[in-house]
Symmetry: C2
Subunit: 403 residues, 2 copies
């Protein structure tokens, strides 16, 4: 029942878009709990299952929603029909984690031109071998973007369980503010450092396809956040910094007294890459004249022990004095397209943290992001002071709707 109510809710939004004269194409996910139920059935059937059969089972969840939404729309007087993933979406790659290769436009264009709302199950397509293939985590978002790009849609609206992208985690900063607009790059950096609104894969695809997104609440009817290629017009007045990201999933390794010669960093990183450990921050400031220096980097906290033993095995080859670890660290980042043009922003970040006596254990920077590794117990303070100093606090506490 909860499922059908939500489908009706979606149908009403779709009708509004159709009534406004838009050609509408809807990509749907499975009803709440349905994918979990199907995954559980697969687990009961076989501990380790053929991904192609797994795809057959779990893809049915979105298929059911597509049929139900189409009939709900028809029942509301909206001309609508469902299409199946195998009729439209060509996918390739690994079953259970496939990529969208192409969207069959002809069928869709015909329906859309006739004023029919097209309803498509997300998360799936048909593979080269003619079988159902699912797209892996975040697949419904990714299908939506791929299909929107395929039909050259004006924009792609993504309905989620949050009502937009916030300047930071509202659990840390109650005065966090919903952003009107954010760029793809900023969104990717925010997603990469902890904001879990959209799967990075769907944002990356939207960026490549230059497909403007809107992140909206599936439950409430209020403006969300636009995700765009470049800020323009009124959005330009937005703060230079889009948001502050916090990430506790960090552990630090420092190797002291390593030889200051070419190949040392590679000698450390290669065994980690072979072990499938993603290294995040890397700080290695060669001191020039000195014979030896320190190398500091971070790994996901759960991989710390594995990383440590991988390096210790190669101690003689790498050559270092001591291996120091610290898993009570966290990363705070400022993200914003303004960083590119204004070097003062990074300086402002360091000064603000210094004023509060927050020690920087490591620092890295990209074009639109500056990250600092700090002691974990100083993370929340760091996020709050940066949120304030970069002008991101909303005027009234918890007023997410304020500009």
């Amino acid at each position: 029942m909860a499922g059908i109510e939500r489908i009706r809710n979606v149908a009403m939004r779709v009708r509004r878009e159709a009534d406004a004269g838009n050609q509408v194409l809807v990509v749907v996910s499975a009803m709440a709990g349905e994918t979990d139920r199907l995954v559980q059935l697969c687990r009961e059937a076989a501990a380790l299952s053929d991904a192609r059969e797994y795809d057959v089972v779990v893809a049915s969840g979105e298929q059911v929603t597509a049929g139900l939404l189409a009939m709900t729309l028809q029942n509301m007087g909206v001309q609508a029909r469902s299409f199946m993933g195998w009729q439209l979406v060509r996918a390739s790659g690994i079953h259970g984690n496939a990529r969208v290769d192409a969207v069959e436009n002809a069928l869709l264009d015909e329906a859309l031109s006739a004023g029919t709302v097209a309803v498509i199950p997300g998360f799936q397509g048909v593979s080269d071998d003619g079988r159902l293939a699912t797209l892996g985590r975040g697949g419904s978002d990714t299908s939506a973007v791929a299909i929107a790009a395929g039909v050259k849609a004006d924009r792609c609206d993504i309905y989620t369980d949050v009502d937009g992208v916030y300047t930071t985690d509202p659990r840390i900063v109650p005065r966090a503010r919903k952003l009107d607009a954010i760029t793809f790059e900023e969104m990717l950096e925010l997603a990469g450092v902890g904001a879990k609104v959209l799967q990075p894969r769907s944002v990356g695809l939207a960026m490549r396809e230059k497909m403007p997104l809107r992140v909206l609440s599936a439950f409430e009817d209020r403006p969300g956040t636009r995700v765009v290629e470049q800020l323009s017009g009124a959005d330009m007045e937005r703060n230079a910094i889009a948001g502050i990201a916090a990430d506790r999933n960090e552990a630090r390794i420092t190797l002291t007294g390593i030889a200051d010669r070419p190949g040392t960093v590679a000698a450390v990183m290669s065994p980690l890459a072979q072990a499938g450990i993603a290294v995040d921050m890397i700080v290695h400031a060669a001191t020039g004249g000195a014979q030896a220096s320190d190398l500091t980097f971070t790994v996901p906290r759960a991989s710390l022990d594995q990383a440590q033993s991988a390096i210790e095995k190669l101690r003689s080859e790498i050559g270092y004095a001591e291996l120091l670890t610290d898993d009570k660290v966290a990363k705070v980042s400022i993200v914003g397209v303004g960083i590119r043009s204004n070097p003062q922003l990074a300086a402002m970040m360091f000064e603000t943290l210094a004023e509060r006596n927050i020690n920087l254990l490591a620092v890295t920077a990209s074009e639109i992001k500056v990250s600092a590794l700090v002691a974990e117990d100083q993370l929340e303070l760091a996020v709050r002071v940066l949120h304030t100093v970069f002008g991101l606090d909303s005027p009234a506490k918890s007023d997410g709707a304020a500009k």
Copy 2:
């Protein structure tokens, strides 16, 4: 959970067939309760739904079973894969009640030749317009027969919730016996008059395609009933009568004093046909010299009122004295290929019923069936005495396994 256990049970039978060196193709239905759940979702979404969208929703049940059975088989070490209805089965006709037109053999043959067990969702195919189409009631049986015929299988085993076809309803005659073999014609007559083991549509298709069937229990591992074109060998020794059918869904209408001229029967039947009422037995013995006679026929009990008013509206056109109805009637039938060659069997039926003072309200006969309409309160007695006189009682009470 119950669902997965049943799937394992099916998988073990499939493995046994595959281990015996057979090429095996399995057509599956939805898990218990699943189709009802999906139908209910459709009802909640829209009181009256587009059959094509309904098909998208309900077809998912069989799809899930197909994936789960394939992975269960693989887990047992059996080479297996699922195919989808849209990959193999071309269907035409009305959505929600489509017919199987053709089965794509090439894909299947390739898999079967490679020793792979093919698992196919029943009840569905792809329509001419490229959309999912379901086959309507009993559709999984029908797909199984159609697909078996498409690949020229040696036989088609149908697993049901009964363990075979019985000589009559065991609730009426505890000594009813499971038949080793029955012909398609007999099965159709038994199905048409009340035995609900297989959908008549699947039997009709098997007869047309000359595809031998076996009706087996999905729960117990024991011999079922073979359904064949002609009895041969040991089966020839079977009784001339295969079974006794009982049908309470009858109501009788008698028109007295109708004009004994051409067109009178048609004048009665046409309005009933237009109202969608299926007339079953029709008895009209023109008396020759007389100016008027009686017409007796039966309709489904639930249609009696509707039939009566349809006829009364046309009273002046038809021309009859009285319209008499009786909804306390029932039909008892003997069914068997022996009837064709032995006219004594019908006589034996009438004599047996007369000995018990069972009055015959109407009688009809086809090549392999003789039916008598009797008072409903005499139905069970009629079935029991006929079951005994035609030698159908099992030697020991309730011993279904006895020959």
